[in-house]
Amino acid sequence: MPVKNLFEKYFNDFEDYDEVLKSDMTINPSWEKLLNNFSTIGIEELSEKQKQIDWLLAENGVTYNVYNDPKGLNRPWSLNIIPFIIEQQEWKSIEKGLKQRAELLNLILNDIYGKRELIKNKIIPPEIIYSHRGFLRNCDQIKYNTTKNLLIHSADLARGPDGRMWVVNDRTEAPSGLGYSLENRFSARRSAPELFKDIHIEQPFSFFKDFHQLLIDAAPNNKENPTIVILTPGPHNETYFEHAYLSSYLGYPLVKGNDLVIRSNKVYIKTLKGLIQVDVILRRVDGAYTDPLELKGDSYLGVAGLLNAVRKKNVSILNPIGSGVLENPGLIPFMNSICKYFLKEDLILPQIASWWCGQEKERNFVLENLTKFVVKPIDRTNREHIYFCELLNEDELESLKKQILEKPYHFVAQENISFSTAPNFTSKGLEPRKVVCRTFAVAKNETYSIMPGGLVRVAAEREELRVSNQRGGTSKDFWITNSTTKEQPHNQRYHWHNSSANTLAGIENLPSNTAENLFWSGRYLARTLVTARYIRMVLNQMADSDFSKQDSNPESLHILFQSITHLTSIFPGFTGKNKEAAFKDPLKEIAKALFDKNEFGSLANGIQSFSNSYFSLRNLWSKDMWRVFDSITKQWISFKPEKHQNIKSIIQLLDSIITKLIAFMGLIEESILVEQGLLLYFIGLQMEQATMNIDKSRALLVVKNEEQTEYEILESLLDSNESLNIYRYSFKSYLNIENVINLILLDKSYSRSLKYQLNRIRKDISKLPDKNQNIELTTSYLAIKEACDLIENVNSKNISKIDNNKFTRIALDELLAKLSTLIHKTSLSVTNTYFNHSDQQRQLVHQKNV
């Protein structure tokens, strides 16, 4: 297909500058090779490739969270198959401009928290600093370990009407996008290698090396093997995927504020063994939230005392706390003067013409011509507060005017620029869309190292003015192409030996928070699996006995229904006063135990709890695991219980979920090492399995039933344990209670028996590190040991005995109750010893001045 056919319906209403097509409809030479590759591939194939990319990103779990999104936490990241191209020659001059801008912002940051010459010499008005939310007075006069103050800078660029790239925004707080841009490159190359044919693209390898070196060099006292961590606000943050991604890609642990603690002005990470000092923090938490002592008092995302640790030069934070003051459109009108003041030169990259309303003349001009402008507050208190005045009605304009007049210094008006468009692949063919390029710079010696390329974001709709991920929209791979070099592109791997940073390997160094999440992952997974199997067994029994004929329902079925209530603790269920009603429509009650996620103990609740701990740990999981996990949640969410009220379809659902859960558990065991925390997962898993084993046995074995009923119950119990075949193999006999107890409670070597599970917990607990004493003297070990000793001395004959009252096996019940208490005690003790999060953070009560 000829290239020009690609663009057949491209411009129905051509107005703006386009990156590919010039106004005379000729093609920008930088894009020629790519378009040729496109023609070779053809539209249909392109469409296939786009689907592959979408699939790959979804499969890899690349997500972007949108706050308050009805669709749930994780929205898939989207990448358009058509990249964005800038030719190396042009890029070189952009790079120069970016270096200048990063340096300039660094000097401003130095000055704002230092001598404040810019204010004293009237280069900038005081309001744009003093009234900016990002100006943190507690950061005043702090001296840093690093040669520069601003270590990471991101700029959003767009091509203006003059054909040059303009700076639209600066990002200096905690710039996001690095992880996404890497993943974009990997996905594009993997799905559509043909696109890259004969095109030389600059790779970001050396940029990431510089980034890594920056983190190492930032360590206090030139420490040789510094401990570097990434501080994240947690899984609810919009870019959490990226935090986890960078954590596994760069090899630094991902931590939350409550993983850290300050002792004597040093920062430590809480691990199983104790405290390990942290030297460098790459932060993704906004500055104001990092220290509840000195900054935002009600923040739970930071750690109290952090700022003083910085002051004492015991830790380095990138970017330093307080750097958010540079995300400030109020600075734009003054940038050229600042540049002349500090560097004695003009700005290289153009910016949008901006008017700061704190000046009378400028304010009047803005108010008189308001509809021509885009009005923004100087700080990003709320990202929706950008006013595109041409779209406002009379009332809205009046209200904006009032706001400006009330606090003029808080607003900046910018020219409404029509930035360039670039082709985007859509279901309707190619469409021009607005694009914004995010660039990345990191400090390197005296200057900055610039990532070749970056992240390109595309407006969601054809006419969309705003380009923002929060509003939906897509992204592009960003190519810096070199037409002069003949060198063939090669698939460079972006990995290096992370030998110079302390990666906190080994079970002793496992952050307690990670350990806790692994422990609970184990517990939730076991609960989910056991519950699913159990309810499936009951449903199968219902199907077999044709349960619709209510009167003839066997006694055993009633007992099984009641045991569901005991196992899930969803009371009253099949017990209590109204149990007859429940027996009449058992599916209704069972559906609750399966699908009502508000019932603690339901299958839905288990899956949800597990999802939460899954997301908190996602930097540990492999991609295969993501795929299985994603498929479990998708299948679970898409199943509509109200539409499938027959037993068969629920059984099918459970069959499939159970298979996937087992696959997932298998993957866990092969994807993480014991030292990485698998031990904690096992302890949680076995504890839950043992507990549920006890609950089942107490519900089914303690009460003595008629012979026929008892037989059916024993069969059901073995069935729910997947133990029927093993029973037959081991005993080759008719089912009897003593043998069943021997198999599922007392067998030493059978992995589904209680005795095995208890011994396994004891063995695993004995491998946990201990701060002070011999592990065998700790409460957790002593409790589990007591449980093991107890079951060791049990004789199956004795506990199968029926009491004098002829109805119950009291000895069995007492034994199981004791064991249950001991497991609970062990669990509590493990939790208290290793997961030190029981300490609530609070503020000291204030005394009023009276």
Binding site: I119, R137, D140, K407, L844, N849
Partner: protein, 311 residues
Amino acid sequence: MLYSIIHTTSYDYDEAITYCHNIAILKPRDFLGQQLIDYSLEIQPFPTYLEEDIDFFNNTISRFSIEQSHNKLVVTATSLVERNFDLQPNIFTSEICKKTTIKDALNEFKKGTEETLSVYEFTLDSQFIKSISSEIKEYAEISLQPERSIFEATNELMERIFKDFTFDSHFSTIATPLEEVMKAKKGVCQDFAQIGIACLRSVGLPARYVSGYIETLPPPGKEKLVGTDASHAWFSVYIPKFGWVDFDPTNNQIPKNQHITVSYGRDYYDVPPLKGVLYGSGNSKMKVSVDIRPAKNTKQQQHQQQQQQQQ
């Protein structure tokens, strides 16, 4: 006047606190007219870390942490302060102080001189005084007319707050918004000071919050009881080419020798006497006692005697 001040804050926790990080702003400032002769800060349990530092507003602050389990925290600041109002620039005789009008001042601020830039941020929003309501502005403008002298207009504003607002120690908390105080016209000194500041800022004048103490006198013929005083607060307005002038709306007076300044800030948020973050569960009970009384300067005497001995 020489004062000895003992300010004790104690917290009782019903469950142990694992550790805590705190900042105390309790050390009185030193300036012409107020001399800090002696100061000590005693903390129980003994802090793991304790160090003095200077904050953004040049107040002396003490950072401390207690990194061991504790059920009780007691912080006692003991100060010896010499107060001599006569040494301060004389508010009552200075022509500049009395004559500068609000309009003059606003013009001066527009020039952006080094002097005015240094106080400029006290005209802007702060944590507890932001987005000042039109109700407050209207209340302010009754007194703060452009042609009037700042001093006299502010003095009148102080009198009005004193008359219009009722002292009520149960009405407000730290978190009570200014608008509510304005509507109910009730509160304590902290609220009155912040209302005064909001009024001044609403017309563009720099105003700051002053945290400190006031000496209270016992009823005639009775002996003063220990610990009956409290920490106090008032406000200050900046008059160009003269300086800051204090007003105490709670007592309707211009602070002189009975007022002792501890710290300045934009509002209470910048200068709480004690703040902290602690880790642990359970409830806490706070007790505050302040005791101010005239003192004999034994230290100065000792010092003089020693000097005499050496001569």
